[in-house]
């Protein structure tokens, strides 16, 4: 089961959100939820880099009793977050695919898209839908 996808830009602004089969709806204050998530990710990232026993480490995912959060950050600071059920295997590879085959192709190369603005591109949404629904873990 995959529940939701968030994309944050390099300034931690949420530029894309999409959900599938999410039974409990988002809190009323969507902004606050996004800020909480950004804060959590930042704290986790800094915790991971401080506690690493070797040279460097990146944070990949964490699981709770009801969901698992998968994380990938591009070199340019765009953050991709997928929420799935806790049994799903790591979706790091899939997040990289979303970056490479969908974000770059539909958004970076889209002359109508202004960097940092919310993604409002129907073909991107359609393509992401198709990709997520085609995953074995969906």
């Amino acid at each position: 089961m995959i529940y939701a996808l968030y994309i944050f830009d390099r300034n931690d602004k949420c530029i894309f959100y999409r959900e599938w089969e999410r039974s409990k709806s988002r809190p009323d204050n969507v902004k606050e939820e996004e800020q909480l998530m950004v804060g959590l990710l930042k704290a986790l990232k800094s915790f991971v880099s401080k506690t690493t026993p070797t040279e460097s480490a990146v944070f990949d995912n964490y699981a709770t009793s009801t969901y698992k959060l998968h994380y990938f950050e591009s070199g340019t600071g765009i953050k991709f977050v997928l929420i799935s059920d806790p049994k799903t295997a790591s979706l790091g590879q899939e997040l990289r695919e979303i970056y490479r085959d969908y974000y770059v192709e539909y958004i970076s190369k889209n002359p109508l898209y202004k960097l940092g603005s919310p993604i409002n591109c129907a073909s991107f949404t359609v393509a992401i839908d198709k990709f997520i629904k085609g995953l074995t873990s969906f």
Partner: protein, 188 residues
């Protein structure tokens, strides 16, 4: 195999995978853009600026495709950055590789030397443009924009250009500062 050869191989692979357009069409389109800018703008300085700005906007976006397709991580130092730009970046989007020269660890600067610059094929500059026009200035902008997105603020200038009688195209890149966007935890 050492690191440089590795990068070279990576550049080849990336180049093979990427969608290509006709080189002559590309060269002529670029020429048409430069001509149009010269017609529309008052001075050649403005043309240079405009080319740099256009390149900058390309760079801001191009870097994502570069990172996604090359699968490269963060560079350890500016020297590595220089090698990655010349061996992988130039090959991937430009079809040619470049060389790094005069690397200066103290000043954090280096030169990119292009023996073959597809932008200037078929180009001849009228004498009145030779001194002031930086014909390939778009490249400077691209490098500047792309590096800014990975936290490096640089200045790029064209130092040599075959259109002005030099043997090769030479671009100087100098690191100004590493930008930090990380806000310490608990600061928000």
């Amino acid at each position: 195999m050492n690191r440089n050869q590795n990068l070279q191989k990576l550049g080849e692979q990336a180049y093979n995978k990427i969608e290509k357009i006709n080189g002559e069409l590309f060269t002529l389109t670029y020429g048409a853009i430069v001509c149009q800018l010269i017609k529309e703008l008052d001075s050649l300085d403005e043309v240079n600026n405009q080319l740099d700005k256009m390149g900058y906007n390309i760079g801001l976006r191009l870097i994502d495709e570069f990172l996604a397709r090359s699968n490269l991580g963060r560079c350890r130092d500016i020297k590595e950055t220089a090698e990655v730009i010349t061996k992988v970046g130039f090959k991937m989007f430009f079809g040619v590789t470049a060389n790094v020269a005069n690397f200066n660890p103290k000043k954090q600067s280096f030169l990119i030397q292009l023996e073959d610059n597809p932008l200037i094929d078929f180009v001849e500059l009228p004498p009145q443009y030779k001194d002031k026009l930086s014909y390939s200035n778009l490249l400077c902008g691209v490098i500047r924009g792309a590096l800014e997105m990975v936290q490096m603020k640089v200045v790029c200038t064209i130092k040599k250009c075959p259109l002005k009688g030099d043997e090769i195209t030479e671009i100087k890149v100098k690191l100004i500062e590493i930008l930090t966007t990380e806000i310490p935890v608990g600061d928000e």
